[in-house]
Amino acid sequence: MTDIPLEKQTTSALLYLDGISVSFDGFKALNELSFVIEPGEMRAIIGPNGAGKTTMMDVITGKTRPDSGNVFFEEGLYDLSKLDETQIAALGIGRKFQKPTVFEMHTVEDNLLLALKNDRRVRATLLWQSSPPQEQRIDAILDTIQLTPLRSRIAGSLSHGQKQWLEIGMLLAQEPKLLLVDEPVAGMTDSETMQTAELLKEINKTKTVVVVEHDMAFVRELGVKVTCLHEGSVLAEGSIDQVSQNERVVEVYLGR
């Protein structure tokens, strides 16, 4: 990347959202949102509709520019709020979208190949040759996401759950420092949901993960620190049990 890293800020955090505000013509999607993700942790983000979960993802990945506030990455080396999607991706932030967006016309294998951490420039892709280490890497990922038997299938023909996993696999292939996972189990069966939880835990052994999810059973299954957003800012933070005891959380979820 061409941009010069900022000097190290005094934060040990991998990701540090500092007072982010975003408003779409009047309506405040994010309101002075601040929180910290430590390296290697897994964080679940919950919250009712319109709490700003997806907007937060957009800000981190550069899809939306915040009106105010900064997003510091890697101990404050980079301010993501100044970079565009491509640069941010290149810094090692991978995103899985709410609605699975794999490349339908490509085989499972090619989907991974495209995601594989590699030189993204035109020349490189023109001259690219597959190499044993890369082959092994892909095999390994296929194994993790349990799609080995379907490696040469067209991604478009996969089941919903399989697509979700493929996309998670693509995240892994990017070898990002940080994974942003948006509603990974939406529309999955119970068993698929539980498998996904296992998968994410597995991934978390080596990577930092942020999961946005409504499915409480799933979040409980993950058993990690939970941040509850409401109206664009943090309402409560802590273990799932603490959060679900929290008066205000109960209020926003069960009513006023």
Partner: protein, 231 residues
């Protein structure tokens, strides 16, 4: 009246509804509860015909409407107050209400007085652009707009979402008034328990695309309900 018989619904490969069955009666409010992402909205989409069901049937006033288009269902007397209001931003309040004339015969084309007596604020803003209204006003407009259609089935999708308490009260009052008229069946999708409890005659809790708990107000077991909704 409305009879939804174990329907499935898919978004591409994703299954949003799994064997849902639901009934609604005139003068009664059927309340569908559950956190978001569990398929409540998908259920309403299936009822108004915005998404085709992959299995099961939907019967309305004795006729099978499973295959009908959204327009035809609306013309048969099904009105929806969608999530996020979806009022027409560039139309004035008056024009927004008038869009409800579509299913009506020429001579019936008038805004019922109820609309203004329930939501006086609309009367004072007839000339304003829908997009310029506050969230609460838009919500009231959306309900008013649905009432203009003289529906016999009214579907409300989270009418309290992101609305300040005072207006929530108004909306609550409006819904119970409409129930009192005994002219229409009402299906209310809600995330917030107490709002649902005070209005719902039947309560249904959904999770991950299927119904996990249902009861009448009378036979309601608060504990079981809370557990079904548990976070």
């Amino acid at each position: 009246m409305l009879d939804v018989a174990n329907i499935n619904l898919h978004y591409g490969a994703a299954q949003a509804l799994r064997g849902i069955s639901l009934k609604a009666e005139p003068g009664k409010v059927t309340c569908v509860l559950g956190r978001n992402g569990v398929g409540k909205t998908s259920l309403l989409r299936a009822i108004v015909g915005q998404r085709p069901v992959s299995a099961g049937t939907i019967t309305f006033e004795g006729t099978d409407i499973t295959k009908l288009t959204t327009v035809e269902r609306a013309r048969n007397g099904i009105a929806i107050v969608p999530q996020g209001r979806e009022i027409f931003p560039l139309l004035t309040v008056e024009e927004n209400l008038e869009t409800g004339f579509a299913p009506l015969k020429r001579d019936q084309r008038s805004v019922p007085d109820d609309v203004f007596s329930l939501f006086p604020v609309l009367n004072s803003m007839l000339g304003r652009r829908g997009g310029d209204l506050s969230g609460g006003q838009q919500q009231q407009l959306a309900i008013g707009r649905a009432l203009v259609m003289r529906p016999r089935l009214l579907l409300l999708d989270e009418p309290t979402e992101g609305i300040q308490p005072s207006i929530i009260k108004d909306i609550g009052r409006a819904i119970s008034y409409l129930r009192g008229l005994k002219e229409m069946a009402i299906v209310l999708v809600e995330q917030y328990l107490d709002f649902a409890q005070e209005l719902g005659d039947h309560l249904v809790v959904m999770d991950r695309g299927s119904i996990v708990y249902s009861c009448d107000r009378a036979s309601m077991d608060e504990g079981a309900l809370k557990r079904a909704l548990a976070i």
